[in-house]
């Protein structure tokens, strides 16, 4: 094992995972979600990216909650999960209807909001 990694492993064993790691992971997940949201064409994928962003935020909530030893972050997480579940139900229903009516899931072809 390289020297640094070993030191890190020891630190983790002594103090637990540092908060920055969680936050970095959360940021990476969130960025992935944003990128997917912006660049993918399939509505399903876009939808999944939204979920990814939500969960990235959840992760940072939980991390902060753990760090401050306060329960607020957990509560927020549950809220977000509830909303995400509801949103998933509605969102999937919309996607189904869009597909039924238009026969496509390409997001660029669904642009009737324009007019």
């Amino acid at each position: 094992m390289p020297e640094g990694l070993q030191q890190g492993a020891q630190q983790i064993l002594a103090n637990g995972v540092p908060i920055s790691w969680y936050l970095i992971l959360s940021a990476v997940l969130f960025t992935l979600g944003v990128a997917g949201f912006l660049f993918r064409r399939s509505i399903i994928t876009v939808f999944m990216c939204i979920e990814l962003m939500l969960n990235a935020v959840n992760l940072s909530f939980v991390a902060f909650s753990n760090m401050h030893r306060q329960v607020g972050g957990h509560i927020f997480t549950f809220f977000v999960m509830v909303v995400a579940a509801a949103e998933a139900a509605v969102g999937l229903a919309i996607i189904l209807t869009v597909f039924k009516n238009r026969g496509t899931l390409n997001i660029d072809e669904v642009s009737s909001l324009k007019n």
Binding site: V34, F37, V46, I107, D108, S111, L113, K114, N115
Partner: protein
């Protein structure tokens, strides 16, 4: 308590009923309401007259409510009746009643019957307010009100362009006068702290002459507008576009004399402002001559009488200006008799000739309309100052006073009297003598029109010595003795008779003569015939610049350029910005998302920058 308020309230009630329900009422009912309201009002005036006792010693004064109160300044809704007011009340309601009766016959075949009588009643209301008012402001209410009714009635045939234009002209020219009157009222309020006649007129002698002169001159401006004196007389001849009873009531007998009444009412102010008095006299005299010369040349019968009215009003102002206030009021009264009669007679003539107003197309009506003929003859004698007719006394009183003041005024006045006799009798001969030159068959007017004519004829004949106004008003305006009165009377009568004789010679005996004279006079005749081109001069110097200025500057530059430009500019800019922002609304979900992300990143950067500036290690 004499309940003076009933006098104007009755015509107002008539106005309300006819104005609101007139459309659905029958003509008979409309005229009954209109006539009854004025006749009852006349009755109430008589009742007040007989029960009030000596008005000279104990004038009636009634306070109804306080209208305006501001500190010590107070204006009340007050009516007052002294002898002067009583004379005016008698004239207004008496002549008003006669003309209302006449109008029921004259207007019988006209459209807008109820509207006509509603306006006429409204006029009576305002005129009575004007006369009864015990302060300047209430007088001004009536003053403006009669102006409004005058405008409405001149433009009564509103489908006729010339009628509406004439109405506008009357209204606008009167604005100039009213502006002066308003300024006079402000000055009075500032200097006297009150507008009521009692206080102002009592305090007037103690005020500096400069103040009084300014007030008097401004009041004169107001009077010039309402009473059609130089330079504001131009609206009155055009006002003849209105129905003839209106010309008789408003533009001859009552409203146009309001200026004379107002000056007489303000006599204490005027008598302590000699310069203003002199101005009044000169303006009156100038108007009298000027209008009389125009009257010599006109062919429209109503225009002749209109210029005659302007000229006679000039006489009244001459009387006021030389200090013979009661003579002015006397002439006001007799003029109301004979000029109302002249106009009503002219209306009867026009009626007989099926609406023809040009005297060249009349003639020979003596045979067809005998009653109109003899009543008009009486009126013409009266206005010419024929001995013992009403006009003789009042004109003589004014001319006598003018002689005492300045003999040259007497001579100008006397020449004017000669011209007056000439043009009135010229109209008479052209209408009633010779052969009928018009179209259709002329016919005599109905009894409802002839009745008032006859009553007025009697009044024109005997009204002068029956109502000796200077004697009645003796305690208000002491009568001045005139030296050599007999001689002066003889001279003025001679001029009057000379005028009549000359007109008889020119229009009955030698009918070729007028044409010869006019052609030999050339440009002078053209000048007078076209009323000295005063309308054209006013048009070029005042009306056109105003209209052009309004059109170019106020309308096109200020209104369309600045105001519209501002409003439209704001709209156009909003549309432009909106059009630019609209590009964001592509409908493409991913572009929306991009903007959201860009916004979020932007916020993050901002927040971190702000946090950085607060000084990193806040924690």
């Amino acid at each position: 308590m004499q309940n003076l308020w009933i006098i104007p309230a009755l015509p107002f009630l008539g106005f309300l009923i006819n104005g609101i329900f007139g459309r659905t009422l029958s003509k008979a009912l409309v005229s009954a309401i209109a006539v009854a309201s004025v006749v009852l009002s006349f009755g109430w005036v008589l009742k007040v007259f007989f029960t009030a006792g000596d008005l000279g010693a104990n004038p009636i004064s009634e306070h109804y409510f306080t209208w305006i109160r501001s500190g010590v300044f107070e204006v009340g809704w007050d009516f007052a009746v002294d002898k002067l007011t009583m004379i005016m009340l008698m004239i207004v309601t008496g002549i008003g009643s006669l003309i209302h009766i006449y109008a029921t016959g004259y207007m019988a075949h006209e459209g807008g019957y109820y509207r006509f009588f509603a306006y006429l009643n409204l006029f009576m209301f305002f005129m009575l307010m004007l006369v009864l008012a015990a302060n300047y402001l209430l007088l001004f209410v009536g003053w403006e009100g009669v102006g409004l009714c005058s405008y409405l009635l001149i433009g009564f045939y509103f489908l006729k362009k010339s009628a509406t234009t004439a109405g506008n002209k009357a209204f606008i020219v009167n604005r100039v006068g009213d502006f002066g009157f308003s300024l006079a009222m402000f000055l009075i309020a500032v200097n006297f702290g009150s507008l009521s006649f009692d206080k102002v007129l009592q305090a007037a002698p103690g005020k500096p002459a400069g103040t009084l002169t300014t007030i008097a001159l401004l009041l004169l401006v107001g009077a010039c507008g309402k009473s059609a004196q130089i330079p504001l007389y131009v609206w009155l001849p055009d006002a003849m576009e209105g129905p003839t009873p209106v010309s008789a009531l408003i533009h001859a007998a009552t409203m146009v004399t309001a200026g004379v009444y107002m000056c007489t009412r303000s006599a204490p102010i005027f008598t302590h402002a000699p310069i203003a008095m002199e101005t009044v006299a000169v303006i009156g005299l100038a108007t009298a001559v000027f209008a009389a010369t125009i009257g010599l040349t006109q062919y429209d019968i109503k225009k002749v009488f209109a210029y005659s009215t302007v000229s006679q009003l000039g006489y009244m102002f001459l009387g006021v200006g030389v200090g013979a206030f009661s003579a002015g009021i006397w002439h006001l009264m007799t003029h109301a008799f004979f000029k109302a009669l002249l106009f009503l007679g002219a209306g009867s003539v026009i009626h007989a000739c099926h609406g023809e107003q040009d005297m060249r197309h009349m003639g020979g009506l003596k045979k067809y309309a005998p009653h109109t003929c003899w009543t008009l003859a009486v009126a013409s004698l009266a206005i010419s100052g024929f001995p013992l007719t009403s006009g003789f006394f009042s004109k003589d009183a004014i001319l006598g006073a003018a002689y005492t003041h300045a003999p040259w005024m007497f001579w100008v006045g006397v020449v004017t009297a000669g011209m007056t006799a000439f043009y009135v009798w010229r109209a008479f001969w052209m209408t009633f003598w010779g052969e009928y030159k018009g179209h259709g068959h002329p016919h005599e007017s109905p009894m409802s029109m002839l009745g008032p004519l006859m009553v007025l004829a009697v009044l024109s004949a005997v009204g002068g010595w029956l109502f000796n106004v200077p004697k009645i008003l003796e305690n208000m305006f002491p009568v001045q003795e005139v030296e050599g009165e007999m001689t002066l009377t003889m001279i003025s009568v001679a001029f009057g008779l000379g005028g009549i004789a000359l007109s008889y010679y020119m229009y009955v005996v030698n009918r070729e003569l007028p044409a010869k004279i006019t052609s030999s006079l050339g440009w002078l005749y053209t000048l007078v015939y076209n009323k000295y081109f005063v309308d054209e001069v006013y048009d070029a110097t005042i009306v056109s610049p105003t209209v052009t200025g309004s059109r170019v500057f106020l309308w096109q530059a200020a209104d369309q350029g600045v105001i519209d430009g501002l409003v439209n500019g704001v709209g156009r800019e909003a549309r432009g910005i909106g059009g630019w922002l609209r590009r964001l609304q592509s409908g493409n979900i991913r572009s929306y998302a991009t903007w959201v992300v860009v916004g979020a990143v932007g916020l993050l950067i901002l927040m971190s920058l702000a946090y950085g500036m607060q000084g990193g290690g806040a924690r």
